[in-house]
């Protein structure tokens, strides 16, 4: 790694969260960013933006997280958020087979349309729902909790699918995507793979830590955190220079930038 100054400098990494509606994208991010659930999740219009630092042994990675809206019609807006992203977390719900299909579609799309070096992590959320041992603990809802949502496996309020398996809080009952199946798919496509629970906090930190480790930081254009003022200024100057070069004699336009 080309990390000559591992002490303070944070490397910025743009990360985008994708996945079907109600798989728990926002919950994962909240768990990671605040290590908690927020009763009143800020509504996702297009995408919510959050940041969080992740400390590794030799460096600090600052994640800039775009938590995209899961509603199908916002799909066409997603490219705006995943362009230039260095990492993507594609989330599915292990209690809903269809959500893995959607996740696969996202992976395909990312592999074709996004940054070619993008690190993709496939995350099966709601692990708490299928762990018999954690049955008791699993009584906090996963997705932005509804007031009346006391029954943990009852995720049906988040999606239209009928919830027959949810009725039984038995051990592996609600699981619809096996660990092996998803793992095999992830390996085949070269994805990082985790099963996690935003609710219980299981594996959430690991997802982001592993991404931070995996990202080839030397390929990311260093976003200046502290010492970059110069850099930025020169960029601004360059832009200003461009502008005045384009409309010569339009000096007032250039002046405007500096005086308002």
């Amino acid at each position: 790694m080309a990390s000559e100054d591992p002490s303070v400098k944070a490397v910025q990494v743009k990360l985008v969260l994708l996945g079907e509606a109600a798989v728990g994208k926002s919950s994962l991010v909240l768990r990671f960013v605040q290590n908690d659930f927020n009763e009143n999740t800020s509504p996702t219009i297009g995408a919510a933006f959050l940041t969080q630092k992740c400390r590794l042994e030799n460096r600090v990675v600052k994640f800039e997280i775009w938590d995209t809206a899961g509603q199908e019609r916002f799909h066409s807006l997603a490219p705006m958020y995943y362009r230039n992203a260095a990492a993507a977390v594609v989330v599915y719900d292990i209690t809903k087979a269809a959500s893995l299909e959607k996740a696969k579609a996202w992976v395909k799309e990312l592999q074709r349309q996004a940054n070619p070096n993008i690190v993709i992590a496939l995350v099966g959320n709601k692990l708490d729902l299928v762990e018999g041992a954690d049955g008791e603990e699993a009584s906090t809802p996963t997705e932005a909790p509804e007031a009346a949502d006391e029954d943990a496996p009852a995720d049906e309020d988040e999606d239209g699918t009928p919830p027959p398996p949810a009725a039984a809080p038995a051990s592996e009952g609600p699981r619809q995507v096996s660990h092996a199946e998803a793992k095999a798919y992830a390996d085949e496509c070269g994805l990082l793979f985790f099963e996690a629970s935003a609710k219980a906090g299981t594996n959430v930190q690991d997802v982001f830590t592993e991404i931070a480790k995996t990202i080839p930081l030397d390929t990311i254009t260093p976003k200046p955190a502290a010492g970059g003022a110069q850099n930025r200024r020169s960029a601004a100057n360059a832009a200003a220079g461009d502008a005045s070069a384009v409309n010569l004699g339009d000096g007032a336009a250039a002046k405007k930038g500096g005086c308002c």
Binding site: I45, F49, Q71, S76, Y81, K223, R232, A235, N247, C260
Partner: protein, 1030 residues
């Protein structure tokens, strides 16, 4: 997979529609008469032709001068009769405006005035007297008066409803609570004083039956004192007395000023619905909302599920949305609208918008305002493809490029999209971005002035933060910067300024001033023309995007590659949109209905477009050569091919064979798999599917009937082949089939002399093959011919063998449809060459040109027509027979003539291209006027840009007056508000109201005292007895 079909169905608004939009006047089909049954689900916006003519009422515009009793100002402008509304807008489009429902006009009289002036006096429901001088020629004015009279008559029934409707409006309560006679209001009875802590603001104690929002119970956002609610309320009350209220509200210059300082909370809901015109919908559809709720009670859908999920995320900081009552209201409005407009359903962000509306409005008020928002103010913002959002983001970017070129260039250089921040601004009307009290002031302006305000505010935000924005290097910095700006929007814009008056100017006030002064060059026309310019690009992008997604999401693409699947998608889409496939409009049909191209929801809750049989025929005609009738016409100039859709039972069979889920419709996946099977089939596979196609009960045997059907299918495919070798082959096939069939058929189906039935039904088609064996009269519905036997029969014939082995698979051809450029070629009037071509070649003059050319061709004896055969082995494009020698002898003399002229035609075709090109040039001359228009518009726009840039450069210091920010709202508070008002007035640039001066004004004043004429029947109207009070 659902197709963005509405993008193709899009048509620019007509002049009538634009006028109605200007006045926020709904269309007559949205306004059922009280006697009509209520319309619950949204009427399809297809029957535009019927507008106005439905009730036999016509619209008319006329030049007029308007004045009001009690006001000095007189305005010249345009008066529009848009039944059931009478609308006026002053020439500057800003100073004076009104939209009067005809049912609020009690009386119209023609005034007796000096010769030559045709003047009408209107008495409104609220006792206001409006004088209109129709300054056109007398006959025109008289005609207008007649139309007005007819339109007024048709609204008598509505007038009765008005009486019961009005109490739902707060302004009625406000003005009637103090005294009973409206005129005494002028004395301005002091409004009841609230206790110090009343967050609801002044103006009532919750009495009265008016519609009210959650704020009445849970308190309105913001501090009523700081917001000067009392003073504002008093000013509005004064305004209402002179200028009318709610349904009869007239917009005079003070209106704009009162609007821009923020509407008082209690009046806000009513003014929102009056300004946006949604009140007319609520008036005309009194039962719709409750019916929607009761009819759909307990139903769940994808939308209701999504709504449920978002309820808790909708302005959770506002108290009411932490209670069941608040959430229940929000749920009901969103659910009702999702059933009202199932095509739109529910879109995230609507929860925020509606949560905002419900603070100030009742459920029903919010519901109708939501309809106006989705239909007119923010068209396409929340639709399933969100094309309006994408389009307006692109428009915004282009405006940034024009008005703030440095910011635009910088963002481009660091590769940051402005939309990452601005998208939620537009989608949630800033409600999600700014603190509520400020966001609602923007909503006030949007509802009064239209979507341009969103752009003006957005540009102002960027401009004010210009310097910091030039330091931004990535998305994250941009978002953080915007967030910190919004969080300080209520702070002083100049905290260190020595003058306290300047210090008191908040960031928000500065924002409004910049938005409305510096960016007032952004007009409705700017937005409309930018949308028009960019729409095609956006539509193309959406289509390409959905195509990519649709292709990618196919579970199985068979042996096709991606390009081929793409072509299949294009054909599929083209078929769905084609006029032959029925209405282009998507009607989300219930599960029982078999509508045209329809939307179905799959197991995962995704919306899917499927095609029915009729559409399938269109699709297949684009792919299979035998599924279309192609007529090739040659004349002296050119050769052209006309395609029509063929119809045969075989196509129906194919449809049902491909319908894997037996739904009666095909998905794209079904079509891909179906085509995969037939196109990549080898000899044996072709034989097999063709056999299965006719084996209805799939028992592995064809019955005798089915053998006949199969041979009919073959004959159908061969119908246009020249010569009779195919006919002979089919005849041989039938003979052999029966011969082998008898030998191999299962015991049960052996000929039984008893029930020998003649095959009448098949006689006419089968008559083509005279040689058919008549000896095989046996039961026709018993298993007879097995696949193996069928195969043997086919392989016995060389021609059939080559047909199944090669020609049949090859008859399915995936030609590029050039669908991708659909929008660009259609909507690029600015591109010089493309524009020319489009102007010249439209469908109408193309067919006229063709007919003309045919005429010349036949005059020259060079006109010829023939059917293109489905299987042309030698050359796909030329009708050359397979075996010329064998065929030649069979041709009739006239056919020979045709073949010859065909070859001469192909020689001519090069020449004809030239000819048609020169023909185009002649047409160009006729269209040069249109081009000049285009150029002129362009020049106008670039001048506007220049003006905008200049405004940006020479931005003087703010001339905003100080606003005393003392907490106690003393007597001086009113003046303070007016100071603020004046500041806006000044800031707004147009201080003079463009009112008429001098002689014209004098004339108008004279009219106020003029006597009514002897009530000539053409223009006066005596309304229902009890309402007349003059």
């Amino acid at each position: 997979m659902s197709l963005p079909m509405h993008l193709r169905a899009y048509t620019e608004k007509t002049k009538d529609e634009l006028t109605r939009d200007l006045f926020n006047a709904p269309f007559p089909d949205q306004l059922p008469a009280p006697s009509e049954p209520p319309v619950v689900t949204k009427p399809a916006r297809g029957a535009k032709g019927a507008i106005g003519s439905a009730a036999g009422l016509s619209s008319m515009d006329i030049i007029a001068v308007l004045s009001v009793e009690g006001k000095e100002d007189v305005y010249a402008g345009k008066l529009s009769l848009l039944p059931p509304f009478l609308c006026f807008v002053s020439n500057d489009r800003r100073s004076c405006r009104c939209t009067l429902p005809l049912y609020t006009i009690r009386r119209v009289e023609r005034l007796n005035s000096r010769a030559g002036v045709f003047a009408l006096s209107l008495a409104t429901w609220h006792g206001m007297r409006i004088i209109l001088q129709l300054t056109s020629l007398l006959p025109t004015a008289e005609h207008f008066a007649i139309l007005l009279r007819d339109a007024l008559k048709s609204q008598l029934a509505e007038m009765k409803v008005l009486k019961t409707f009005l109490p739902s409006l707060y302004s009625e309560y406000l003005l009637n609570s103090g005294s009973s006679t409206p005129n005494a209001e002028a004395s301005l009875v002091d409004m009841p004083l609230e206790g110090e802590g009343d967050l609801r603001g002044p103006g009532g104690e919750g009495r009265g039956t008016y519609e009210r929002g959650l704020g009445e119970t849970f308190g309105f956002p913001g501090d009523a004192r700081k917001m000067r609610e009392r003073s504002k309320m008093k000013l509005w009350k004064e305004y209402f007395v002179i200028h009318g209220r709610n349904m009869t509200l007239l917009r005079y210059p003070p209106f704009q000023r009162l609007l821009q300082v923020g509407l008082p909370s209690r009046l806000r809901g009513e003014l929102w619905e009056v300004m946006s015109g949604s009140v007319y919908l609520r008036f005309a559809n009194p039962q719709t909302y409750s019916l929607l709720l009761s009819e759909n009670a307990g139903k769940s859908s994808q939308s209701t599920d999504e709504i449920e999920k978002d309820l808790n995320r909708s302005l959770p900081e506002y108290k009411a949305y932490q209670t069941d009552e608040g959430l229940a209201r929000l749920r009901r409005v969103l659910v009702a609208y999702s059933f009202r407009n199932p095509e739109l359903g529910y879109c995230q962000a609507l929860n925020i918008v509606v949560a905002g509306l419900l603070i100030y409005m009742s459920e029903e008020q919010a519901f109708w305002l939501l309809e106006v928002l989705c239909d007119r103010i923010l068209p396409g913002y929340y639709s399933p493809s969100m094309e309006g959002t994408l389009l307006d983001q692109r428009v915004f970017e282009s405006l940034v490029k024009r008005c703030l070129p440095m910011i635009h260039d910088h963002f481009r250089s660091v590769d940051v999209q402005i939309s990452v921040a601005s998208l939620p601004w537009f989608l949630s009307l800033y409600i999600n971005s700014l603190p509520l009290i400020f966001a609602f002031r923007i909503v006030d302006c949007v509802l009064a002035m239209g979507a341009k305000v969103l752009f003006q505010i957005g540009l102002a935000i960027l401009k004010i933060n210009g310097e910091a924005l030039l330091e931004v290097t990535d998305d994250g910095m941009f978002i953080s910067l915007m967030r910190s700006y919004f969080s300080t929007i209520g702070d002083s814009a100049h905290p260190t300024h020595p003058d306290p008056r300047v210090r008191n100017i908040t960031n928000f006030q500065e924002l409004l001033v910049v938005a409305f002064r510096e960016f007032n060059v952004i007009t409705d026309e700017t937005i409309t023309s930018e949308r028009r310019r960019l729409r095609a690009i956006i539509a193309d992008e959406i289509e390409k995007f959905s195509k990519r997604a649709a292709v990618r999401n196919l579970r199985n693409v068979g042996r096709f590659n991606k390009e081929q699947v793409g072509i299949i998608y294009d054909h599929y889409f083209a078929a769905v949109c084609s006029p032959e496939a029925g209405s282009g409009a998507v009607t989300p049909a219930g599960p029982g209905e078999l509508e045209q191209p329809r939307i179905a929801v799959d197991a995962q809750g995704r919306v899917e477009t499927r095609i029915d049989l009729r559409t399938f025929k269109v699709l297949l005609s684009g792919i299979a050569t035998w599924a279309r009738e192609e007529t090739i016409t040659t004349n002296a100039f050119m050769q052209r091919t006309e395609r029509r859709i063929a119809d045969h039972e075989m196509i129906d069979r194919l449809f049902f064979m491909w319908d894997s889920q037996k739904l009666g419709t095909l998905s794209l996946q079904d079509v891909v798999m179906g085509l995969d099977r037939v196109m990549s089939a080898d000899l044996l596979e072709s034989i097999e599917w063709f056999f299965e196609l006719h084996d209805k009960d799939a028992d592995g045997y064809l019955t005798k009937d089915e053998v006949i059907r199969l041979s009919e299918s073959l004959l159908f495919i061969f119908r246009n082949e020249p010569g009779d070798i195919y006919l002979a082959a089919v005849s041989r096939f039938i003979l052999n089939a029966y011969e082998f069939g008898d030998a191999t058929a299962p015991e049960s189906s052996l000929p039984d002399p008893q029930d020998s039935v003649p095959m009448d039904g098949d006689e006419q088609t089968a008559s083509q093959s005279r040689e058919r064996s008549n000896s095989q009269a046996g039961p026709h519905n018993l298993p007879y011919l097995s696949l193996a036997t069928f195969r043997m029969v086919v392989l016995a014939d060389e021609l059939l063998e080559s047909f199944f082995g090669h020609d049949l698979p090859a008859s399915f051809q995936l030609e590029d449809t050039q669908e991708e450029d659909y929008h660009k070629t259609h909507a690029k009037p600015d591109g010089l060459l493309g524009g020319l071509v489009n102007l010249v070649v439209n469908d109408e003059n193309k067919s006229r040109f063709n007919r003309f050319a045919d005429g010349i061709g036949s005059a020259l004896g060079k006109h010829a027509e023939w059917r293109k055969p489905a299987i042309s082995k030698a050359d796909q494009n030329a009708p050359v027979p397979i075996d010329t020698r064998a065929r030649e002898s069979l041709l009739t003399p006239s056919q020979r003539q045709r073949v010859r002229s065909a070859s001469s035609a192909s020689q001519l075709s090069v020449q004809s291209n030239k000819t048609s090109a020169s023909a185009s040039t002649t047409n160009t001359a006729n269209d040069s006027r249109t081009l000049a228009d285009v150029e002129m518009r362009y020049r106008e726009e670039s001048e506007m840009v220049r003006a905008a840039q200049e405004a940006v450069m020479h931005r003087p210091n703010f001339a905003i007056d100080a606003i005393g920010d003392s907490d106690g709202e003393d007597e001086g508070g009113e003046d303070d508000v007016m100071d603020e008002v004046e500041a806006f007035l000044k800031a707004h640039g147009g201080d003079e109201d463009n009112a008429l001066k001098g002689a014209e004004k004098k004339a108008a004043e004279d009219l106020l005292t003029a006597e009514p004429m002897g009530a000539p029947p053409s223009s006066s109207r005596r309304s229902t007895g009890d309402l007349v009070d003059l």
